[in-house]
């Protein structure tokens, strides 16, 4: 596997989870969660702290990362989002409240980085977690494990939403909060669970991304445009679309920068973010509803029809 592809797969897996996290919260609570940036950064720092203090592989700390991310989600829900939702706040208000929360978390991250330096003598401001990785089948393990974990998480989420009663209740609340309330479904609980899942996904996504990029206190802030690009590319109405959108954005960035720098020179590296954003813009021009709006069944049918026509 080419190095850019390995890094791309790792990075895209993380971006897919963060974009999925943004989409999930948007479809359930109408909230564009800017705090996903700091939640992702905290995810990286939890994994980093675990490895630095207790050793082992980054993977073993992912459950803890998820739990911590969920905790951050719960704090945001009970501290801000719940009160605003009850007052039927506008989307812009909901969004700005998460920006405030993000800035608060960012300062906590800075404090935490200082704490790690002063107390444990660590240097947490520029960290490469991939030095703790191992080789699997001659490749970087993360390039194999992280996409698989992402697919597993997506599958689990799919089963949760379609096969469990609470999962179906979540879908019902997403579609029609009034009717779900009239059915006795506690929308408060649904919103809280979505913050738990989304917070966990964002933090795990951040920990994933730090296996392909340098972990810094501001890594979330620098990657948040791509997280949102993934969610928007996915159409913002479909969780699966959001995850696929995030993955596509990540892979485009790595593949695009690799090929363009070979063709045009290394100066292109400075514009790496522009490539996936152009992909997003082009997709939205063709399909204004994003990936969720692509009539896949129709496309496949027409392609199959064409092939049949040709063979006849």
């Amino acid at each position: 596997m080419a190095p850019w592809m390995a890094s791309g797969l790792i990075y895209s897996s993380g971006l897919a989870l963060t974009a999925g996290s943004i989409t999930l919260l948007y479809i359930v609570t109408r909230t564009f969660n800017f705090a996903v940036a700091s939640m992702a950064t905290f995810g990286f720092y939890i994994a980093y702290t675990g490895i630095s203090l207790y050793g082992g592989l980054p993977y073993q700390y992912y459950p803890l990362v998820f739990i911590f991310g969920s905790f951050l989600g719960i704090v945001c829900y009970f501290g801000l989002n719940r009160h605003l939702l009850r007052r039927q706040a506008a989307e812009i208000t909901l969004m700005m409240s998460t920006l405030g929360y993000d800035l608060l978390l960012l300062s906590f991250i800075q404090m935490y980085a200082d704490f790690l330096t002063h107390t444990y003598g660590l240097f947490p401001r520029r960290v490469t977690l991939n030095v703790h990785d191992f080789e699997l089948f001659g490749e970087r393990a993360a390039a194999i494990i992280l996409p698989i974990v992402t697919i597993l998480l997506l599958t689990l989420l799919h089963f949760f939403l379609t096969r469990t009663r609470f999962g179906v209740a979540m879908r019902a609340t997403i579609e029609n909060p009034v009717l779900s309330g009239a059915s006795g479904i506690n929308s408060d609980l649904v919103y809280m669970v979505s913050w738990v899942i989304a917070g966990g996904m964002a933090s795990v996504g951040g920990a994933f991304m730090a296996m392909a990029m340098t972990g810094t206190p501001t890594m979330g802030m620098f990657t948040i445009p791509l997280m949102f690009a993934g969610a928007i590319l996915g159409g913002l109405t479909s969780l699966y679309g959001g995850i696929l959108g995030g993955f596509m954005i990540g892979m485009t960035e790595y593949a695009g920068i690799f090929y363009l720098s070979q063709q045009l020179g290394p100066w292109v590296l400075g514009y790496r973010m522009g490539i996936p954003l152009m992909l997003m813009a082009a997709t939205l021009l063709l399909f204004p509803r994003g990936l969720a709006g692509i009539p896949l069944a129709k496309l496949i049918n027409s392609l199959v029809g064409k092939k049949r026509g040709e063979s006849a």
Partner: protein, 253 residues
């Protein structure tokens, strides 16, 4: 069963209902009729904790329920079938019924869903289909079945006959009467199909611009020609006789 006293409510800063008082006696059908924009839907929405409650009392079984959350009211045995968005279009018919029985244990919910498909056989045919693919009449049947899933003490029905073919609307009305007669459920219904609703109803209120203009026996409202023709578009027997005896303009000198 349900008592609303001096209720003021609306949406945001907009007040729709002004000092409104109604009563829905137990095991009967209370019909609320009136022209568009009278505030009928707002009344049901306020009772159900959806519209903004401002002041007044809402008593259910003599207990105040104003300000309670919608899912808490569902737990108390109040079932609400809204006019629009009364089924989960993206869920299957089975999942819709299952969600309606969300407060019950899973097994009980399954048994109840089976009962519903027996009461409304049309639902059995489409049990695994998305509710969004059902016709208007089938959706209304599903909406009523969902309302009944909860073993309600009180059902709030909001304009169930809207957009339905007359024959389907008639069937829906007959089902509502059956709910009272056979299951003893108290029903508070808002209805555009005023004449038929008043025929099956026990008590009636005529609402105009957020206020009550008539309260009394449902059948008696049909004998108020002025109110009927002015607000409900119903021609009473006396109106029709008057029409027949009126000389035509073209023929008169």
């Amino acid at each position: 069963m349900l008592e609303v006293n001096n209720l003021n409510s609306g949406y945001g800063k907009l007040q729709i209902l002004y000092d409104l008082s109604i009563e829905a006696p137990g095991k009967g059908i209370t019909v609320i009729v009136g022209p568009n924009g009278a505030g009928k839907t707002t009344l049901l929405s306020t009772v159900m904790g959806v519209a903004k409650y401002m002041s007044g009392d809402i008593l259910f079984e003599d207990m105040p329920i104003q300000g309670k959350l919608t899912h808490e009211l569902a737990k108390k045995g109040i079932s609400y079938v809204p006019q629009m968005g009364n089924v989960f279009a993206e869920l299957s018919v089975m999942d819709n019924l299952s969600m309606a029985g969300y407060l019950m244990p899973k097994e009980e919910s399954k048994i109840k869903a089976d009962q519903m498909t027996e009461i409304f056989p049309v639902l059995k045919k489409f049990i695994h289909r998305d509710a969004g693919t059902l016709s208007g009449g089938e959706r209304r049947m599903l909406a009523i079945a969902m309302g009944l899933m909860k073993n309600p003490k009180l059902m709030l029905l909001d304009e169930l006959s809207t957009d339905l073919a007359p024959i389907i609307a008639e069937k829906v009305m007959m089902e509502i009467a059956r709910l009272r007669d056979e299951l003893g459920i108290t029903i508070l219904m808002v209805e555009q199909m005023a004449k038929r609703a008043l025929e099956i109803g026990d008590t009636a209120y005529l609402m105009v611009s957020g206020e009550i203009r008539y309260s009394g026996k449902a059948s008696d409202l049909l004998h108020e020609p002025e109110l009927c023709s002015m607000y409900l578009g119903i021609k009473t027997d006396s109106d029709q006789i008057a029409d027949l005896t009126k000389p035509s303009i073209e023929g008169s000198d």
